[in-house]
């Protein structure tokens, strides 16, 4: 299971990011959040990227110290902070552009599903977030100057845009 997204409902308010950081770090900041809302003012896109809890976990595979591992019991990807050396290999390996590093500790911000009842889902004002086991496809255009995360958000948003356009014609 992981946090799934309905981008047609997301208003881009980033309330999820704020309360995620609060729950995990005790203070408020999107830069310490384990959910990452990609916004584009030109395309009017709001797309929260979430950890897909990949079964093959590319982030764990590239981790040189095995700090990232799959917890078979919980069925989620976990980080052993003591082993992490902050190299950032996992960030480049994430096929969704989701992962980023904690600006202070330089360790990856990986979703832990808040132990089963994610704060982001609880706080989302528009019901855009929910638990799902349906994993996103890994298609990402890599030549986006705004980054892989942005590229992924654009691709996903284009999919539902088509539906919008059809509805309006």
């Amino acid at each position: 299971m992981h946090v799934g997204v309905d981008p047609t409902r997301c208003s881009g308010c980033r309330y999820c990011e704020l309360w995620c950081s609060y729950r995990h770090e005790g203070f408020f900041s999107p830069y310490f959040s384990r959910i990452k809302v990609v916004k584009d003012e030109v395309l009017k896109i709001d797309f929260p990227l979430t950890c897909q809890q990949c079964e093959d976990a590319p982030c764990a595979k590239v981790c040189p110290t095995a700090a990232i591992y799959i917890d078979e019991d919980a069925g989620i990807v976990k980080l052993n902070e003591e082993l992490c050396i902050g190299c950032g290999s996992c960030v480049s390996a994430c096929p969704y552009g989701y992962l980023s590093l904690n600006p202070n500790s330089l360790k990856p911000l990986i979703c832990d599903l808040c132990g089963g009842s994610p704060e982001c889902i609880k706080r989302c004002p528009t019901g855009a977030l929910f638990l799902t086991s349906e994993v996103m496809s890994r298609d990402v255009e890599i030549d986006d100057p705004l980054g892989r995360d942005h590229a992924k958000a654009v691709i996903e948003s284009k999919k539902f845009r088509k539906v919008w356009v059809a509805r309006n014609e």
């Binding site: 047609t8 409902r9 997301c10 208003s11 881009g12 308010c13 980033r14 309330y15 704020l18 309360w19 950081s21 609060y22 770090e25 005790g26 203070f27 408020f28 900041s29 999107p30 830069y31 310490f32 990609v38 916004k39 584009d40 003012e41 030109v42 395309l43 009017k44 709001d46 600006p103 706080r123 004002p125 528009t126 100057p145 705004l146 980054g147 942005h150 919008w164 356009v165 309006n168």
Partner: protein, 633 residues
């Protein structure tokens, strides 16, 4: 422990002439007295921008501030206030915007930005936690908002950077240029964009990586949860989420308060055709919110340009919608949306623009403006081809548009005609509401510290038409009835204090004012839990009143007196011709007397009495006024 929780604790002062930057500590006294945003801006403006400063000269200062709430998980709390001496009105310039800029400032370690001096060449300023860079903006000078935004983003290569931009209208010296946050969220009133452009600053980019910590997390969290519950259960929650303020158009038509055909009709026969309701059915794709908002009221919508091209755009408040439809006699929603898109892209205030255009249209309609004078533009009601051309002319100060580019008061003066139908107070153009139908709003326009504007008092409650409320709150049943007179002084003073407080917290008025969810008691809890300092209810009440009085003192110092607290004659003399407010004029003088009385201001002159200034801890202001030969009673 000297740390200011909630705040970043810093003012960033940028000297553009010398390209020097300085971080100043935000003092506890300033914060206790004025909180943030509008409050700390006006306090500094009073101290640092005295009479004689030319609004578009290098000695004017542009201040952008946010409040203690921004960047926390408090809902609807991340606005910014922009203040400077206004080039449009010559008095206090002040405008407020939402978006994601305020919180980003906090994450970048600043509560307030002050721009001083003037850069020799066009620049944009790039602010992070570690540095302040002046970047060459010659390449984007002259570009429209959307293009400039994209180009800056291409250089920054970071979608998380928050950008405030001015458009060509501001650069060309149109006196009502705005500063546009997140492309479509302008601080547009009173020409703050024009001031920024006069300093050769095209944009301010902020990218932080810090965080905001509250002093008492548990109390804070409990308060947020209480507020969340009330918000989601509130009557206005769904209408606001679905339509935002555009819902006011149709409702306003029902009570005959619209500015139809330049305030000649309070009710129009095509309101539904240009309503928020119709947009929700036909155009809206999804809602969009400011940072940390749980009542997202902005909408992403699709529309078709006249050329047939389909567009996706965002936002649109009631003010813009009514301005580009009913005020100028336009029945075509698509064309109205197209005009607003153009205005936003050129970077000017839609309210002021709607007044200058509808003013010219009324003159044209009456035969007092000839084709020769308009350069051949046919300014018939609702002629959107002419309107689109005129908007461009205003922005680039060409042809007939050049006359309108300095606002309606100067346009009437230069033309030597139309002064009696130039709808402004203190040179700020009136919003989309007819004061004959909303008398508390009318009083608010007359006394507001930035000119004819509703957001200084927003006595929304008078729309309830519930005498019991008025009796309970103000001891006057008429106070909360829109066509009533008695008690309106109390009503406006009461809500002015609240608005000043809210604008200093930088929380959204939808929450605090319209939904009435953040009262004084909660505000004191909120401030205490965020900052860790204790704020009593009485102290909190005083803060709003202090700010209103300081702003009044700023105006008094610039020469404003009771004689300037006026409304255009039409509203005083000509009865409303149609609709549910038919036959009404606004009885301003009676309401004004009550207002000054309740404020503790001299009823004859409108100057705050020495006693009230001292009571609010504004002794230095009282002394300053006396030194400048202002007689305090």
């Amino acid at each position: 422990m000297n740390r200011l929780y909630g705040y970043a604790g810093k003012t960033l002062r940028i000297d553009l002439s010398r390209k020097e930057v300085k971080y100043e500590e935000l003092s506890k006294e300033l914060v206790r007295g004025y909180i943030g945003g509008r409050g700390i801006n006006v306090r500094r403006l009073y101290n640092e921008v005295p009479p004689g400063v030319k609004p578009l000269g290098p000695e004017n200062k542009l201040m952008i501030a946010t409040g203690p709430v921004a960047g926390t998980g408090f809902p609807l709390g991340t606005r910014v206030n922009v203040s400077a001496k206004s080039p449009l009105t010559g008095i206090l310039g002040d405008s407020n915007a939402g978006g994601h800029f305020g919180s980003e400032m906090k994450y970048a370690g600043i509560d307030q930005i002050i721009l001083e001096g003037k850069s020799q060449k066009p620049v944009y300023i790039f602010i992070t936690n570690k540095s302040v860079e002046f970047r060459d903006a010659e390449g984007i000078w002259g570009e429209r908002i959307s293009k400039a935004y994209e180009q800056i983003l291409r250089e920054i290569r970071d979608y998380r950077a928050q950008i405030a931009i001015v458009g060509p209208a501001s650069e060309n010296g149109v006196l009502f240029g705005g500063i546009f946050f997140n492309m479509v969220r302008p601080a547009a009133r009173t020409g703050m964009g024009t001031v920024m452009a006069s300093k050769n600053v095209k944009a301010i980019v902020v990218r932080g990586e810090g965080y905001v910590e509250v002093a008492k997390p548990r109390e804070f969290e409990a308060l947020v949860e209480e507020i969340e519950r009330e918000v989601y259960a509130h009557d206005q929650y769904w209408p606001r989420r679905i339509m935002g303020t555009t819902r006011i158009l149709l409702a306003g038509n029902k009570i005959g308060m619209l500015p139809g055909f330049h305030f000649t009709r309070g009710e129009v026969d095509f309101a539904f055709e240009v309503s928020g309701e119709l947009m929700a059915l036909k155009n809206n794709l999804k809602t969009r919110g400011c940072f940390s908002c749980i009542v997202p009221c902005s909408r992403v919508f699709a529309f078709r340009r006249s050329s047939g091209e389909g567009r996706v755009s965002e936002g649109l408040e009631y003010e813009a919608l009514a301005g580009m439809t009913v005020r100028i006699g336009n029945r075509d929603l698509n064309k109205g949306l197209e005009a607003v898109e153009l205005l936003n892209d050129l970077g000017m205030d839609v309210i002021t623009t709607s007044e200058v255009i509808s003013w010219a249209m009324e003159l044209y309609h009456r035969g007092e403006l000839s084709d020769n004078e308009t350069g051949g533009l046919k300014l018939e009601w609702g002629d959107m081809e002419s309107v689109m051309e005129l908007i461009e002319q205003i922005a680039y100060r060409r042809g007939f548009g050049s006359l309108l580019s300095e606002g309606v008061a100067r346009a009437a003066e230069k033309l030597g005609r139309g002064d009696e139908i130039a709808f402004h107070v203190k040179k700020l153009e009136m919003i989309q509401a007819d004061p004959r139908a909303l008398k508390g709003y009318g009083l608010g326009f007359a006394v507001a510290s930035r000119g004819a504007d509703h957001l200084r008092s927003e006595p929304f409650i008078e729309l309830s038409d519930d005498p019991e409320l008025g009796r309970k709150m103000f001891g006057e049943p008429e106070a909360t009835m829109r066509l009533g007179i008695r008690g309106k002084g109390k009503l406006v003073a009461y809500y002015e204090n609240i608005c000043a407080l809210v604008d200093s917290l930088e929380v959204c008025k939808n929450l605090a004012e319209n939904m009435d969810i953040l009262d004084y008691e909660r505000t004191s809890k909120l401030l205490s839990s965020i900052t860790g300092m204790s704020f009593t209810v009485e102290e909190v009440k005083d803060i709003g009143e202090r700010i209103v009085n300081l702003e009044r003192a700023y105006l008094v110092r610039e020469g404003i007196r009771r004689k300037d607290d006026v409304l255009p004659k039409r509203f005083l003399k000509e009865p409303m011709p149609n609709g549910k407010s038919k036959g009404h004029v606004i009885e301003l003088q009676q309401m004004l007397d009550e207002y000054y009385e309740i404020r503790g201001w001299d009823v004859r002159t409108g100057i705050p009495k020495e006693g009230i200034l001292r009571k609010l801890g504004l002794e230095d202001v009282a002394e300053d006024l006396k030194r400048r030969n202002v007689e305090l009673s």
